[in-house]
């Protein structure tokens, strides 16, 4: 909800209400003349965080700084720099915080590979256990022997609750 509030407050600068008149409206977006370059810039906007907002990409944020950052990215795209160069430049200015895709480095290994590692570990454990279980499943307990005798005798047999009608 805080994010929502901030959007609202940021948006206020735009309607020109006297209460918040002190914040100047952001510079209007000037799309690049080259459609392919503009599309590249737009794609970059989605992954770059507006540094004063709660959890918003500069593509969506009405904040002044988001407009400035969009302009910056457009200038760099027009200057022929690659996506990676532009992102590196932003990280140099604002830190890792500015990209919605965190870097893969020692401190973020757990973040990137934790879930997959967890899954692999559990899967391995399950496979190991099912192997072990198959080996030890051979002898029946006395209780099971009795049940088996019951079933063979024909009573104690109950329908499989999930049997498909076609099986009957």
């Amino acid at each position: 909800m805080k994010r929502v509030l901030l959007i609202a407050i940021a948006a206020l600068g735009l309607i020109g209400s006297p209460v918040f008149a002190q914040e100047p409206p952001p510079a209007p977006d000037r799309p690049l003349p080259d459609a392919a370059q503009e599309a590249r810039a737009q794609a970059l906007f989605d992954g770059i965080r507006c540094v004063v907002c709660q959890h918003e990409a500069i593509a969506d944020s009405p904040a002044v700084i988001a407009a400035d950052m969009r302009q910056l990215v457009r200038e760099q795209v027009a200057a022929g720099r690659t996506d990676a160069q532009i992102e590196q430049d932003l990280v140099r200015r604002y830190g890792d915080f500015v990209l919605f895709q965190p870097p893969v480095r020692l401190g973020t290994w757990l973040l990137w590979f934790g879930p997959v590692a967890l899954m692999a570990a559990v899967l391995a454990l399950l496979l190991l256990r099912s192997r072990g279980r198959r080996a030890e499943a051979a002898p029946l307990t006395a209780e099971e022997e009795a049940r088996l005798a019951d079933i063979v005798a024909g009573d104690g047999l109950r329908p499989d609750p999930d049997a498909k009608p076609s099986d009957h």
Binding site: M1, K2, R3, V4, L5, I7, A8, I9, A11, L12, L14, I15, G16, S17, F20, P28, D29, P31, Q42, D46, G47, R49, Q54, H55, E56, A57, D60, G95, D96, F97, V98, L99, F100, Q101, P102, P103, G107, T108, L110, L111, G114, P115, V116, L118, M119, V122, L123, L127, S130, R133, A137, R158, P159, D160, P161, D162, A163, K164, P165, S166
Partner: protein, 661 residues
């Protein structure tokens, strides 16, 4: 006076919950049905008392009683009545009362359940009572919504106008019903850990008791999250519906855990297997609910700096979360090894498929948890700040789910204990072939051609067709006479229909999400009256802009006409920018033109000037293809949950292994 009644009722509810806990514990220890019965009575009385407190709060809001601090801070006389009432649960204090209402309300239903054995029920009632004590104490001692103001202001400060919206008025009740519904699963799990025995008929019965609660909570949560996403979609005016925001993730984690729970509970119910795991998930789902409440209410994640605003309440919530979850999981670690359930099964079987389902859902849940908390942990550890946003989840969560979805349709077709993979493959061959064809059709249909999006379309189709394949199989559609099919369709248990619907709904959602994300077209530029902006196949003309007056706002209202580029099929849409003088805030009212499955989404922004000096408005237009499916899919899933819930096998007295198929 009426407000004081509410404050009193809340304190009374706390006392009753304490009484409920004490008498249930004593009743259980002494095996006294009288004491246990009294505890159940106290549970119901506690729920009634919270209901009274909540009704009082709504009354204070409906009558705009600004001598109540909470009303003065969150309401306004100009608000329409629906939003005055909804404001009662719009603030921290009010939403906490709603939380307690759901908690004690479900506790009362639990107390009235007739088919539970004495020990299990009494332990569950005690646990539910203890949860009630904790949250009611939190409400009474730190967050009472009934505090008075003296002197009372003449006017209220109004609720954030973004929240003045029908979807958001009903979003919290559904969300909370889902969150807190899992508290009953939690209590039943704690009770099972206390009462449970190894290798007995206990676990299938327990699975049957816990499953309706999991199903109902999950269905509520599905509706609640969807309402929230829909609200974000058309109220925030940024064209998106999900941004992997920490607050969104907070509601998604219990949903994932709940989905895993209701699947593993099926195995426990049918086969007595996975007993420990199902218990674990039941504890986990409510733990995630509490974590969600903590994350949202403390503000620790939306902004690290907002934590200082109200550290005390945040810390208390954290203490409740840590205390209950810590105790419950400690109990689990101690007791679970003694509670081995029965039921052996081969890796390729219905059980095996459900285990795989659980593996994927828990890994997905872990991804969301890591992605949400990692920035916080990293900053606490070495002070470096990172952002975890959509690109991270696109690289981790999405592939995980994609693999799970490929396997999913096989699950319901496998038989219990030992499945026949070849047979299942044969039965799904037609669905797989059709899905691949549809993926190819999608590749041809949408410009520009994207292999990944086409694969996504195939995956969505695969889920839908795979789900239907099971129904076709079980009703012998196309193979038997129509009458025979109809007879078999009628004989199918509601639970089977629920499974089919829920899985097909998931496919519908995947289709919508993939196509909307892959092919949405956005356009934005300043428009003078009479000018046209184009997005995809659509052209939008700004016809007129005028100032209109709402009940508590002023708006600049843009009237626009959406047509095809050729000018055919014109339709008018209205988009507004609303200014709320009471709070000094501005909101956008999106103009939505529903075109079949697509949305043409129009936002009229701030006024500027064209190069020639004429007034112009920044108009943003999105063409969101198949966006309807994004919200329709979860609705179908929730409906599937409700159908399963109505299955008579989940009701009373069908617990003795004579379930009908």
């Amino acid at each position: 006076m009426i407000v004081e009644t509410g404050a009193f009722a809340l304190i009374l509810a706390l006392a009753l919950a304490a009484l409920q806990t004490g008498m249930a514990v004593a009743g259980r220890l002494r095996r006294s049905p009288v004491l246990a019965g009294a505890a159940e009575g106290a549970a119901m009385a506690s729920a009634l008392a919270v209901a009274l407190a909540f009704a009082t709060l709504i009354f204070a809001f409906a009558t705009s009683d600004f001598s109540v601090a909470n009303v003065a801070a969150n309401s306004h006389t100009d608000k329409p009545m629906l939003y005055k009432v909804a404001a009662a649960w719009g603030s921290h204090e009010g939403s906490l009362v709603l939380w307690c209402l759901v908690l004690t309300g479900f506790g009362a239903v639990l107390a009235r359940a007739r088919n539970l054995p004495f020990g299990l029920k009494t332990s569950a009632v005690a646990t539910q009572g203890l949860l009630g004590v904790l949250f009611l104490a939190f409400a009474v001692f730190t967050s009472s919504p009934f505090a008075r103001l003296n002197p009372a202001p003449f006017q209220g400060a109004s609720l954030n106008p973004l929240l003045q919206d029908p979807a958001l008025a009903f979003h919290p009740p559904f969300l909370y019903a889902g969150y807190v519904g899992f508290s009953v699963c939690f209590s039943l799990a704690v009770a099972a850990l206390v009462e449970g025995r190894a290798n007995s008929a206990f676990w299938p019965a327990w699975g049957r008791w816990v499953r309706p609660w999991a199903l109902a909570s999950w269905a509520f949560l599905t509706v609640g999250i969807t309402l929230g996403a829909f609200w974000a979609y058309y109220e925030l005016g940024w064209g998106g519906w999900w941004f992997w925001d920490p607050v969104e993730n907070a509601s998604f984690m219990p949903w994932l855990a709940g989905a895993a729970l209701l699947h593993s509970a099926v195995v426990t119910e049918r086969r007595g297997a996975l007993a420990g795991w199902t218990t674990f998930l039941a504890l986990l789902a409510f733990t995630f609910s509490m974590l969600g409440a903590f994350l949202v209410r403390s503000g620790v994640l939306t902004s690290v700096h907002a934590f200082a605003v109200d550290p005390q309440r945040g810390l208390m919530l954290l203490a409740i979360l840590g205390g209950t979850a810590g105790l419950a999981f400690a109990l689990f670690a101690w007791r679970a090894p003694q509670l081995k359930g029965g039921g052996m099964f081969a890796p390729v079987s219905r059980e095996g498929a459900l285990v795989l389902n659980n593996l994927f859902l828990t890994a997905a849940c872990a991804t969301v948890l890591l992605g949400t908390l990692y920035p916080l942990i990293l900053e606490a550890m070495n002070g470096s700040t990172i952002s975890v946003g959509p690109p991270y989840f696109a690289l981790t969560f999405v592939p995980l789910m994609a693999v799970a979805f490929i396997i999913l349709p096989a699950g319901p077709l496998l038989s219990w204990k030992r499945g026949d993979l070849m047979g299942v493959t044969q039965r799904l061959a037609v669905a797989a072939g059709l899905a691949i064809l549809l993926a190819f059709a999608g590749w041809l249909m949408f410009e520009p051609r994207k292999a990944l999006s086409a694969a996504g379309i195939g995956l969505g189709a695969w889920l839908i067709l795979g789900a239907l394949a099971e129904t076709v199989e079980r009703t012998r559609l196309f193979r038997a006479s129509f009458g025979e099919t109809l007879r078999r369709a009628r004989a199918l248990p509601l639970g089977a229909w629920g499974t089919t619907l829920a899985h097909a709904g998931l496919g519908v959602f995947v289709l919508g999400a993939v196509v909307e994300t892959g092919y949405r077209v956005e356009a934005a530029r300043p428009l003078a009256v009479g000018e046209i902006i184009e997005a995809g196949p659509w052209a939008v003309r700004l016809d007129a802009v005028r100032v209109v007056e709402g009940p508590n706002y002023l708006a600049e209202q843009g009237r626009l006409t959406v047509t095809l580029r050729s000018g055919a099929a014109p339709r008018e849409v209205v988009a507004e920018r609303r200014f709320f003088p009471a709070g000094g805030q501005t909101t956008t009212e999106v103009g939505l033109d529903f075109r079949g499955l697509d949305d043409v989404y129009v936002v009229v922004g701030e006024r500027g000037r064209t190069a020639a000096g004429a007034p112009a408005w920044n108009v943003r237009v999105w063409w969101n293809p198949w966006a309807r499916l994004i919200f329709l899919g979860p609705a179908i899933m929730a409906l599937g949950g409700v159908l399963s819930l109505l299955d008579r096998r989940l009701r009373l007295g069908v617990g003795k292994g004579k379930g009908a198929a």
